[in-house]
């Protein structure tokens, strides 16, 4: 049927139609193409595909590594920042504590010093008072005795009654004072 469509028949003296295949070439064409397909399927394609897969894996691996390194670096930075913040906070706390403590110590010291000063002042005052009282008492007694003795000697009169004696002394003292002032007035006159 093909011969009706295609000029496959030829005259004896003409060249064969170019549309007529040679059997040998069909066989060789088939063998060569199958051989090439098998060689590509068994050797070339697997080798190249493996290289591609390795390449993809290497690139992805590198990217993953970089990502991991980045994450590690970030974690370290976070850690250091946290440590730094903690240290700052601690330092601030220590400073505050120290300030508080200093203020407390100063207040305590001041209180202590005040108390001490008060105590010293009170003690001194009491001592002074006592000494003064003692001095006044002894002076008065002594002056009285001396004056009585002196007056007894001068007047020759024994003064038994204490009340009278005191009165006498006081009068004497008063007189003494007045006579002193009178003598001074005479002296200035004389």
């Amino acid at each position: 049927m093909l011969t009706l469509v295609l000029p496959l028949t030829e005259a004896a003296d003409e060249a064969p139609s170019p549309l007529l295949p040679h059997t040998a070439e069909i066989i060789f064409g088939f063998v060569f193409l199958v051989l090439l397909a098998i060689a590509f399927a068994k050797v070339v394609v697997p080798k190249f595909e493996k290289a591609y897969a390795d390449r993809t894996a290497a690139i992805e691996g590198g990217m993953n590594e970089a990502k991991q390194a980045q994450a590690e670096a970030k974690a370290a930075l976070d850690k250091y920042n946290a440590q730094l913040a903690e240290a700052r906070q601690e330092a601030a706390k220590i400073r505050e504590d120290a300030r508080e403590q200093g203020a407390q110590i100063i207040a305590e010291m001041r209180e202590q010093a005040n108390a001490e000063a008060e105590r010293i002042v009170t003690h001194a005052r009491a001592q002074i008072d006592a000494e003064r009282a003692q001095a006044v008492a002894s002076l008065r007694g002594e002056v009285g005795t001396m004056a009585t003795t002196l007056a007894g000697r001068i007047v020759g009169e024994s003064l038994e009654d204490e009340a009278r004696q005191r009165r006498t002394v006081e009068r004497f003292l008063a007189e003494l004072e007045t006579s002193e002032s009178a003598r001074q007035a005479v002296g200035t006159d004389g």
Binding site: E25, L36, A41, V45, A51
Partner: protein, 260 residues
Amino acid sequence: MTAGVPTEFTPPGPQNFETTPIIHGVDWFTKPVLVAALSVVVILWFFYGASRKAAIVPSKLQFAGELGYNFVRNSIARDAIGSADYMKFVPYLCGLFFFILLNNVAATIPLIQFPTFSHIGWAYVAAVMSWVIYNAVGIKKKGLWGYFKHQTMPAGVPVWLMPLMIPIEFISNILVRPISLSLRLFANMFAGHILLLVFVLGGEYMILHSGSIAIGGVGIITLLMALAIAGLELFVQCIQAYIFVVLTAQYIGSAIADEH
């Protein structure tokens, strides 16, 4: 034939493609068989060398091999078949592409200068293999009935057009494809070679046998034209290898494609 004695010019024709056995008595061992065998050896040698020590960082040879392999794998197979199934067909498409490419380009290589595919047997066998493959994978995927339905009943066509569509689609998708595939490749190689022969033999005849200086000058121009045509042919040879493999991949892709 001495210059100045005009002789009959015999134009080149199919008889120029007749090949005689290289070794007397061994009828099958002709020039196209030798060239095809050499191309197979070169392809295997090159790709074996390029892929043998395929590494993450490619050598220069591996890089060159990957360039060719990637071209078929990505630009032809993956684009036409789709990323789900294409890897199965990459070995065949690679072998087919480089086989056709080398045998076509051989027509431009000095001393070889014969396009293997101008002998139609090679084109037939390549086209029939592609035809068997795309029909087989289509039937395997969709079943015999499902595959024929897929190939002959385009979706969205009204039912009353089906009596028209089914024969047309059957003829164009099943019957004509292997013929068009093989004839396209064969005819391009055949015609290109004849064209080149016309210019070369004609130029030679005009220079040596015309006996006229003027015609001899035209003969020189004719030879220069032959050079330009050889360049054009080199381009056509590469393009035809590409077209053959792209169409094969396209047919495979459409045979296993899901309903559109």
